[in-house]
């Protein structure tokens, strides 16, 4: 056997080669991705439609007023509060927010992955019309991995280190299909090939530690898609990967979505990824949705100071000498949310709202332009003019 280091190096090369073959455009550099975020009209992805629910059909995933609470020794942690969104087949929703904003927790609820003894979930999650909140675990098991699959953040720790990659993929297939090992193996090889892993027969027999980071995430995706799921939840699928590999993985997800027509919920804190991938964007803060709309709306016409802060904190290549503009302060503790708007302790615009409304009243999630699907949760009444006059120029 060759040394692990040598093997690793070769795999990276393969990684890059394959990436170039399968990619539609060129690999965008870090800077390009960042600029895309601010100017979605030039983003690489062609957007399908500008309405949230095109053609009026019922979206595949509908989440309504979802609340997830964890009772702990220190009190009840409200991880998700009254979250609603919808994802039709063939569309990608990006859920954006800082760590601890409830992105992952809400998606884990869709998978029914929370420990039911330690979690209280209320509200409604409908998959293809069927309610899954309150289903017994035996029913959820049939859905998990079949109709809904998840691609996790860190493929290094998310793959079982002691089973071969092939074994893990065929296992995922056999859970939901009563087939022989050989049939499952065939299917696994097919999937490995589909996600652009060269030499699937050899790779099938290898362990995760023999794969490079990008290859591992490809294997993870192969495992997620092996049952042809209608909904794929990708929980920060590119966070653990380096930038060139990130672009390849996003492209892979995009292409697979085109092929299978599945709905994707993409959890990320990287607005570059959002610009690249998303049709719709939902911004979360402290367990609540603070802005929701099409990618075009949210990225080009954001109407919530938190979204502005996120956009401003992206480094630009053109203004390399400038300091970064982070959002000051930290996300609040979910044990004791601030009264009023959760963002008020960090909001630089709260003085412009008359009285103490930001501190006393929780703003409703309201349409920003009177009508339309673009909603935001903010008391400011001249959001559009503040953005155009003050925030947009800073974005360059």
């Amino acid at each position: 056997m060759t040394t692990p280091a040598g093997d690793e190096g070769r795999k990276d090369l393969q990684d890059r080669k394959v990436g170039q073959e399968t990619m539609v455009g060129t690999v965008p550099s870090d800077g390009e991705v960042a600029r895309d975020a601010r100017n979605p009209s030039i983003a690489t992805r062609e957007r399908r439609s500008t309405t949230l629910t095109p053609s009026g059909e019922t979206p595949y995933l509908v989440v309504e007023d979802l609340t997830v609470k964890f009772p702990t020794a220190d009190g009840v942690v409200s991880a998700v509060n009254g979250l609603s969104y919808a994802v039709p087949l063939g569309r990608t929703l990006a859920i954006v927010g800082e760590s601890g904003s409830g992105k992952s927790v809400s998606s884990m609820a869709v998978m029914g992955l929370h420990d039911r003894k330690r979690t209280r979930i209320t509200g409604s999650i409908r998959l293809g019309g069927d309610e899954i909140v309150g289903l017994p675990d035996s029913e959820l098991m049939k859905i998990r991995g079949d109709a809904v699959a998840m691609v996790f953040q860190d493929p290094q720790s998310s793959l079982h280190p002691l089973y071969t990659v092939g074994n893990q993929i065929s296992e995922a297939y056999r859970v939901h299909h009563k087939v022989s090992k050989d049939v499952a193996k065939k299917r696994a090889l097919e999937m490995l090939d589909l996600v652009g892993i060269p030499n699937p027969i050899r790779r099938f027999k290898q362990y995760p530690h023999e794969f490079s980071g990008g290859m591992r995430q490809r294997a993870m995706i192969a495992m997620g898609l092996v049952n042809d799921p209608k909904l794929v939840i990708a929980d920060e699928p590119t966070t653990a990967l380096d930038v060139t590999v990130q672009a390849q993985i996003l492209d892979l997800l995009n292409n697979l979505q085109k092929e299978f027509g599945s709905a994707i919920v993409l959890i990320t804190h990287d607005l570059g990824v959002v610009a690249e991938m998303a049709d719709d964007v939902l911004v979360m803060y402290a367990g609540r949705c603070v802005e929701y709309g099409t990618a075009e709306d949210v990225l080009a016409r954001p109407r919530m100071p938190y979204t502005w802060g996120l956009l401003e904190s992206i480094p630009t290549v053109s203004a390399a000498s400038e300091r970064l503009r982070p959002i000051k302060g930290l996300p609040p503790s979910l044990l004791a949310l601030p009264s009023g708007c959760s963002f008020n302790p960090r909001c630089p615009y709260k003085d412009r709202v008359k009285g103490e409304r930001c501190i006393t009243d929780l703003p409703e999630l309201l349409p920003v332009d009177g009508a339309g699907a673009h909603t935001s949760r903010c008391h400011l009444h001249d959001k559009a003019s503040i953005y155009e006059a003050e925030v947009a120029p800073r974005l360059g």
Partner: protein, 330 residues
């Protein structure tokens, strides 16, 4: 894989060789006099003492003695006492003049007893201990888990020989709920073999199960919080498959280490158990030999024990590499 096994085998054999030298050195170079020990306190004339020394080649250089001892293990040798030649066929681990028979012969009758005892014990701790531990890990924080962990703590803070002695006295003699212990060879009568060993198995097994349960619980709690367990659940696998296939395989790794050393130690002599339950195994043999100052037997037992230890380590290494493919690279 083959290369891995071969390498481990070579290192295992070299450890055995070192032990051989060490035990030899300890007993023949240390300030003890084997000839005087054999000669005894009474009736030991200078003439008889000299004769023993000459017959056992104790007057020869130590290196030559060691060479003869080692050669004897592979080829056998002949001892001479009081004009009578005593054959000690290979593997000759020395000749016990106290028992008037080769050490190996004695070990051969004692070994099956200890092996039977330890085999039953191993099955108990690996099944019940690990199972209970995993169950507690899966249900951590519940009443059952707490009760289990408390009881194991209480039980393991009572010295083992007290537990064993009490059970032996109360449950097999005063209130004979459990069968009286004793050893019948398995080949002679399997039923009696089980009946005679049942009580020591249960006592030794259940007492140590608590340790294994604690240990595997800790290991499983850690494994169950791993990301790949979440992945397994996300695939739609049942709780049982997730726990006993995905989690147990990694959770077992640290348990295997402890198990290997524990079994090797028990084979070398489960002294308390054998003494209390009156089983004629290696542990009892060691105690008797120490009392009689029967040096060749002690030496032979130590050597056999060290071979067990090395062997178990070797097996653990192999088991490791079977469980964890990453070990094979190292």
């Amino acid at each position: 894989m083959l290369y891995f096994v071969a390498r481990r085998l070579v290192s295992a054999l070299s450890v055995v060789l070192v032990t051989l030298i060490a035990t030899f050195t300890l007993f023949f170079v240390a300030p003890t006099d084997p000839a005087a020990a054999i000669c005894g306190d009474r009736n030991c004339t200078q003439q008889r003492y000299n004769e023993i020394k000459r017959n056992l080649h104790l007057d020869r250089p130590k290196v030559q003695q060691f060479a003869e001892y080692t050669a004897g293990i592979f080829a056998g040798r002949t001892f001479e006492t009081a004009g009578v030649k005593q054959k000690c066929p290979a593997p000759c681990l020395g000749f016990s003049f106290k028992n008037d028979r080769p050490v190996y012969e004695t070990l051969k009758t004692r070994l099956p007893v200890t092996v039977s005892l330890v085999a039953g014990y191993a099955v108990l701790v690996l099944t019940i201990g690990v199972f209970v531990g995993s169950l507690a890990a899966k249900r951590r924080g519940t009443m059952g888990d707490r009760a289990l962990m408390t009881s194991t703590l209480v039980l393991s803070s009572i010295p083992y020989y007290i537990v064993a002695l009490m059970i032996s006295l109360y449950l097999t003699i005063l209130y004979p709920i459990l069968p009286r212990s004793g050893y019948t060879p398995l080949t002679e009568n399997p039923g009696k073999w089980v009946a005679g060993l049942l009580t020591p198995w249960l006592v030794l097994g259940i007492y140590n199960c608590t340790q294994y349960a604690r240990f595997s619980r800790g290991s499983m709690v850690e494994t169950l919080s791993e990301d790949f367990i979440r992945t397994a659940r996300a695939k739609g696998l049942s709780d049982r498959v997730v726990t006993y296939k995905h989690a147990l395989r990694s959770g077992l790794i640290p348990v295997v280490t402890i198990f290997g050393l524990d079994i090797a130690g028990s084979l070398a002599g489960a002294i308390f158990t054998e003494k209390i339950f009156d089983l004629p195994g290696l542990g009892n043999l060691v105690i008797d030999s120490l009392n009689n100052y029967d040096l060749p037997v002690i030496m032979g037992t130590v050597l056999v024990a060290s071979v067990f230890l090395v062997m178990m380590n070797f097996i653990v290494d192999i088991a490791y590499s079977l469980i964890d493919p990453r070990v094979r690279l190292a």
